[in-house]
């Protein structure tokens, strides 16, 4: 991993840099599995090695650029970076040892999370959608906002025309299995998007757009956030707090499951919508790139 990063720094051929970055992301995903973060690794593999590599390549294609030779030796940045590194290493020495079960991170709220009050075996899903539901709503909104920003930046008057199969099935499995195994809305969303993106790479973006048209993607963008917030409002209407799932059903545990399920569907919808929209925007930009250059 360190080797690929060092190569990244030296290389000026941006194509090679991006491919190396994909390899780096995959290695990072492997490290994350070793650290027991299976949900995170799944996301990193789909996002880092899949979606962002494709996006970077798309942007590179639009920019047709090769990195210029730096005008001066990078001594100052090197000095800044190294001194930052030294300060950080010094600071890190004060942190708890690796895998120390008595370190503060394992003692605060986490034991309560692990007691499984909501009876969802995958604790990551339970914390994401239930205990920290407000955070997740905020983050889904951030993703949505980024999608809107990209639409604003890359909008074309020209009507854009716009992709899945075995991977999408896998994504659905990831989505609905999220309560029990590794998986959930964010992972499923990016896997759907990665599936579509690869489908588009193989059969062309136009075929993809026929399977999932633009209007559907744009609706998904907003519908996901609305669904998430809607679950919150439903809790409110049924006499609980915002994003309180216990009131969603007569049986509180069943209510939790129901709340988490719909929240995850909302997350997956927005995330896959935004990823696809971004990809479409970059893909359709290409056709029009020539004329805008004058």
């Amino acid at each position: 991993m360190a080797l690929s990063v060092l190569m990244l720094m030296r290389m000026r051929n941006l194509f090679a840099v991006i491919v190396l970055f994909g390899i780096y992301s995959f290695l990072m995903a492997t490290v994350l599995v070793a650290l027991d973060a299976v949900d995170v690794a799944m996301t990193e593999a789909a996002v880092g090695a899949g979606v962002s590599t494709v996006l970077l390549l798309g942007a590179l294609h639009l920019c047709k650029s090769r990195e210029a030779k730096p005008a001066h030796r990078p001594w100052l940045p090197l000095a800044v970076a190294l001194s930052t590194g030294l300060v950080l290493v010094y600071g890190a020495m004060g942190l708890p040892d690796f895998a120390d079960p008595l370190s503060p991170i394992h003692r605060h709220v986490v034991p309560r999370y692990l007691q499984n009050e909501v009876q969802v075996p995958n604790v990551v899903t339970a914390v994401l959608a239930s205990f920290r539901g407000y955070d997740t709503l905020g983050e889904t909104t951030v993703v949505f906002t980024a999608g809107v920003g990209i639409i604003a930046l890359l909008r074309r008057r020209k009507k854009p025309v716009a992709v899945g199969c075995a991977e999408t099935l896998f994504a659905l499995y990831v989505q609905f299995h999220g309560d029990f195994g590794p998986g959930g809305g964010f992972q499923a969303g990016v896997i759907v998007a990665a599936a579509m993106v690869f489908h588009a790479l193989i059969f062309g973006a136009d075929t993809a757009r026929r399977v999932v048209p633009d209007w559907l993607v744009e609706t998904m963008l907003a519908a996901g956030v609305l669904l998430y917030a809607g679950v919150g409002v439903a809790g409110l209407l049924l006499g609980g707090n915002f994003l309180d799932y216990f009131v969603l059903d007569v049986d509180p545990v069943h209510g939790q499951h129901r709340g988490i399920f719909w929240v995850e569907v909302g997350v997956a919808t927005t995330v896959s919508g935004v990823m696809l929209k971004i990809f479409y925007m970059f893909a359709s930009r290409d056709d029009a790139n020539g004329e805008s250059e004058q």
């Binding site: 941006l14 973060a37 962002s52 650029s65 991170i105 692990l114 951030v142 990209i150 930046l153 970059f282």
Partner: protein, 118 residues
């Protein structure tokens, strides 16, 4: 030293990312650097959550030690938000290229100065 190995790897990645952002003028290269810096933050969060002999935090009767799920949740969302912001940055780079014909910082600054000598 060995018990801080994960921190040292994290710091190395962070410094490498920072160096790329500061020292390289190409906007796409800068964004790659920013992504590397970001992955170092993933490690910073995830690594302390690991417990030796622990398993992924998916409850099952045959296990009793689980790694800490909270950082996983935080980073999971951070990755997805990260790729969305990366795409936003790339979109900006594409627009800059269309406006200036270049994504090299030096050339863009030179063009700016030529337009506005003040």
């Amino acid at each position: 030293m060995l018990e801080h190995f994960s921190h040292i790897v994290t710091v190395f990645l962070l410094v490498a990312g920072l160096f790329i952002i500061v020292a390289r003028g190409n906007l796409i290269k800068k964004l790659v650097g920013l992504s590397i810096l970001q992955t170092s933050v993933y490690l910073l969060y995830i690594a302390p959550g690991k417990l030796l002999g622990g398993t992924a935090p998916i409850l099952a009767p045959q296990f009793s030690i689980y790694s800490n799920p909270l950082p996983h949740v935080l980073i999971l969302t951070a990755i997805v938000v990260g790729v969305a912001t990366l795409a936003l940055g790339l979109a900006l780079a594409v627009r800059i290229r269309e406006a200036y014909g270049s994504i090299e910082e030096d050339e863009i600054l030179a063009l700016d100065r030529a337009e506005d000598p003040a």
